[in-house]
Amino acid sequence: MKLGQKILLNIIFIIAMLSSASIFAITYSLDKLQQERLKTSEVIFAKSLSTKLFRDVIEGKVSAITSALFEEKKLREEKIEYILVFNEKGYLLSHTYLGTMPREILKLHSNFREGEKYRIKKITSKGLFVFDIAVPVMEGIKEVGTLHVGIKGSYIENLLETAATSSLVVISIVTVIAVFLSLLMSAAIVSPVNKLNAALIKVSRGNLDAIIEVESKDEIGELGVSFNRMTADLKSFRDNLSSAQKYTESIISSMVDALIVINPDATIRSVNKSTCDLLGYREEELVGKEFGLIFAQNETAAEIAGAVLDQIKDPALLISRDFRIARINNAVIEMLGMKRKDIIGQCCYDVMHNSKDICHPPLDKCPILEGVQENKPCVETHSYFDEEGNQILVNVAAVPLADRLGDSIHYLHITRQVNKKGASRDGALEETGYLAQELKKYARQMAETIEQKLIFDKTGLEKMAESGSVRNLEVQYKTKNGEKIPVSFSASVIQDRDNKLVGIVGVARDMRQARALIASLEKSTNELRDLYLDLQNTHEMLVQAEKMTAVGQLASGVAHEVRNPLGIILQGVNYLEGRLSNGQGDISEALSMLKESVNRADKIIDGLLDFSKFKTLELKPEDINSILDNSLVLVRSQFKVENIEIIKELKVGLPSVLADKNKLEQVFINVLLNAIQSMPNGGRIIIRSHDKRSGEEKPGIARMIKDNFRAGEGMVIVEFEDTGIGIPEENMKKIFDPFFTTKGQKSGTGLGLSVSRNILQMHKGLIYAESQAGKGTKITLILKTSGRG
């Protein structure tokens, strides 16, 4: 209800109260007045009449009384209903009724108390409405009768009614005037209040320029003045505040780093200009949105785990609680020879073991079932036989994963085939410990990786709030265009006084330049390292070349000097043999040995000369595969003796090479012999040949190739891979040195590889070795194509 209406109602209420009170008072006092009037005029009339008649009453002069009564009644006809006189004993002596007399009249007689002067009684009954005035008829102090005068009620009431009506009329007029005046008044009172109210509404809507025109000098006026003052204060306060805010805003907006404030409900509260510039959004496009919007879509936990999975060499799977395969690595695909899509989502026992049920004891225990209870890795050894009837032993391992990986992944499962020639179950069991360790390592790695990643949703926010802050987290912002920007993200929790989370303020620093810098730095470092390696290589080559030159000169000198005496020795031996008769076996044998030694020495000298002398090569386009085949024929017998398997993976239709056939054969034989010798217990030699163009090699090799081949030049490559004992790391640099051998005096001269390298160098080719101790050695030869094939 409006104030004006309230005031009006109030006033009307008061007026109504006053009016009814005054009407009541008027009616009451009129009533009183009438009583008084009855007392003063009618009672006096009755008294005087009684005084006049008292003697007649005593003497019982009824006719005298009656005539007097009628006389009086006639004089006052308009108001007198009746006059009655009772005698001392209560008998009705006389009355003024001509016709029937109401019964009530007879009951009127009553004795007066001593000293009682009169009685006034209002009689309202059917057909009689009077004020009965009774007075005693006295003789001195003796009551000799009573006299009643009935004053017509209508006469009195008419008077009363007239008075009441006129007063009502006056009151009504006054009320109307008062209501009208109070209307004016309330309007006058309310008008400044309305103004105040209007101004208040303006202010509440933020218009602090609203000013009330103060007109009234009452409390409302004072209120208006106070209000204006308050508004002014408020305005200056707001101005101060807003300038402070602007100052802060300008600081924030001028920050180079991208600032973001996040609400507890993970929505963006505000961003600064740098953030907008960085992301290409307008501010209003960001405010209120989920803050995950500006972060590059995170890898899911499964993806993170999958990335770890790919690092495992053994077939590894992520398996859900219901034994379905959630994720696999490539090794699994290789192992099973199935397509990825046929594996994912299938049950592990189905795919892995072709079984319709979970692996179960006693044969093959399921590591998942075995290990999960204790929440630790479990490794079981499964055994089965292949088509050829060989027993195959496989360690299957599983470990429960951290909860954060999500609902779909619960176990990491790794399979590792452990069988070797002559493998036993015990041998497999020995390895389970290692596998368990590895499993734990991978599981931890997965958990850690996930932990390191910030999840940009409400969960991530809670995590951030728990830790209080994050520092220099490497994450990616996603721009409006979808471009991913690496940023270093730091954030702090904003709390109110009650330690309640109010929001999080985060700062992101664009890391693109830094990344580029790091990348170029890495590149430079790599180049520098390559340069250094080149230099070192060149240096080694120079030293080698120097060494070779020295050895060559020495060897040719020695050869020349030694050959002559050897020729003489041989001639002498031949002579002695001719002269020798039968039966002289001992001497013959000695001569034979001598002759053999001379031959051997001659052979060494030949080798030395081969090495030292740059014999001219007879270069012809040759098919490298046929050269290989020729070489293999020469050493085939050896293979059988040494229980060595030869596997040829020769590419058909290789381009021809310009080569000296004999020299290359010599090289191949050297390499093969070395391989045979490295496999005393038998083994396998894989010989591959293929071709390619330079520039497609692994980095380590590329450098060597770059020195010898033009880019894009055709190359034929021959590889010899054995399963021998390998070359220890420390010997790797020495194997091409002359006279370096591990075979002892009897088996080799130590010149085989050295000569082979010289031959390759003469062909502008390349030879190098890769080896792993205990596993085998791979020798690779690279030759230029003839340019025609």
Binding site: R55, I58, M138, E139, G140, I141, K142, L181, L184, M185, A188, I189, E215, S216, K217, D218
Partner: protein
């Protein structure tokens, strides 16, 4: 704008309520009737007609003293002028006279009013205008109860006289049957009431009452009524003429009870009428008594009475000493005393205050006069008197 408006409204309301509450202030005219040389006092009484003796003798008695005071220089240098009008013992005339005295003659006070119905009529006037009225030749109870602040009575009331009569008849003489014959007006009823009360105290009541009309001599019926009741004593209330006729008629009829009447009767006039009875029946003459409010005017031992006789002789040499004039004389003494006590700066208030301050004032009749603020009855007590063969009344102690 609002404030001014409010003020206006408030002022308006105050005005309305003030006018509603206001009363007309009455101008009392305090120094009316008092000049440097004169104090005007007004009187209304029966100077002619049936009760003329009462009025004229009261005035004579008063004037005898006033003239003497005036001749000695007045009161505080002012002469007292008594204006007396004749009302012929008619109440309406009394009212007219009183109005004239107050409005035209501007009297200072009213004095020497005679008669009960006459005096009762002016009670309201006196009360309304606040004019003091001193010395009323009536013992009506209505002048005493309820308390009338402007009326100062000198003589004692009819109730006291009635009680005296009843006491004499019943207690002294042992009579049982007391009848009352009274003038059918307020005077008669006043005394009747006194008698009824006195009898009631003795568990008695009048054996008969009878009336006669004021101004008439028609008492025969009344006498018959009373005679038939066998009354042993008849208390009569009225003026001397009809009462004397009542006694004569009784005597003629052989009805011979004791008779009594109150002081108002005018003893000297009454006794003249009774000479005839004395001649016929001396025994009956003996059985008449009158109660008096002043002592016998022939008393030798009372200095006030002697002074009265001297002054009456001086100013009204033709007048015989009588009870009525003595009462008027005493009235005048009290008037002069109060005027003297009020001082030169005479106002009605001071006059009333002086009257109410009179205490044990010896007027020389063996009794003292005292007023207080709430008791305006000056003299107390009555005297019994009986006619003498010489045609006067003498007081006696029963």
């Amino acid at each position: 704008m609002n404030k001014n408006f409010l003020i206006c409204l408030t002022f308006f309301m105050v005005l309305v309520s003030a006018s509603a509450c206001a009363k007309k202030k009455i101008n009392t005219g305090e120094s009316q009737g008092v000049s440097d040389s004169e104090i005007i006092i007004g009187s209304s009484s029966a100077l002619s007609g049936q009760a003329s003796f009462l009025g004229s003798q009261t005035i004579h008695g008063s004037l005898a003293y006033i003239n003497e005071v005036n001749s000695k220089g007045g009161v505080h240098g002012r002469k007292i002028r008594l204006i007396s009008y004749d009302d012929q013992y008619e109440p309406s005339e009394t009212v007219t006279n009183t109005q004239r005295l107050i409005n035209q003659d501007k009297v200072f006070a009213l004095f020497d009013y005679v008669g009960t119905p006459t005096s009762l009529e002016v009670i309201d006037i006196v009360h309304k205008l606040g004019i003091p009225l001193l010395g009323l030749f009536t013992g009506a109870e209505d002048l005493r109860v309820p308390y009338r602040p402007y009326i100062f009575n000198v003589r004692d009331s009819y109730y006291v006289e009635a009680e005296g009569a009843v006491a004499y008849f019943v207690d002294k003489l042992g009579l049982k049957k007391i009848a009352v014959m009274y003038q059918k007006d307020s005077f008669g009823l006043a005394v009747l009431s006194g008698v009824q009360l006195a009898l009631k105290r003795r568990n008695m009541e009048p054996v008969a009452t009878a009336v006669y009309t004021r101004g008439s001599m028609d008492v025969a019926l009344a006498m018959e009524d009373i005679r038939s009741s066998g009354a042993e004593a008849v208390i009569m209330v009225g003026t001397y003429a009809p009462l004397a006729k009542f006694i004569k008629l009784s005597n003629d009829a052989g009805f011979k009870p004791y008779f009594h009447t109150v002081s108002f009767v005018g003893s000297e006039a009454f006794v003249k009428e009774l000479v005839e009875v004395q001649k016929i029946n001396p025994g009956q003459y003996e059985k008449i008594i009158v109660t008096q409010v002043v002592p016998s005017p022939y008393s030798e031992d009372l200095p006030g009475v002697k002074e009265y006789r001297e002054l009456v002789k001086k100013y009204y040499p033709n007048d015989k000493p009588n009870f009525v004039a003595l009462e008027g004389f005493i009235n005048a003494k009290i008037l002069v005393k109060a005027l003297e006590d009020a001082g030169r700066d005479l106002t009605k208030e001071r006059f009333i205050e002086a009257l109410e301050s009179i205490y044990n004032f010896d007027v020389g009749i063996g009794k003292v006069v005292s007023y207080t603020m709430l008791n305006h009855q000056g003299l107390k007590g009555i005297y019994y008197s009986k006619p003498t063969k010489e045609g006067t009344f003498i007081t006696f102690n029963p």
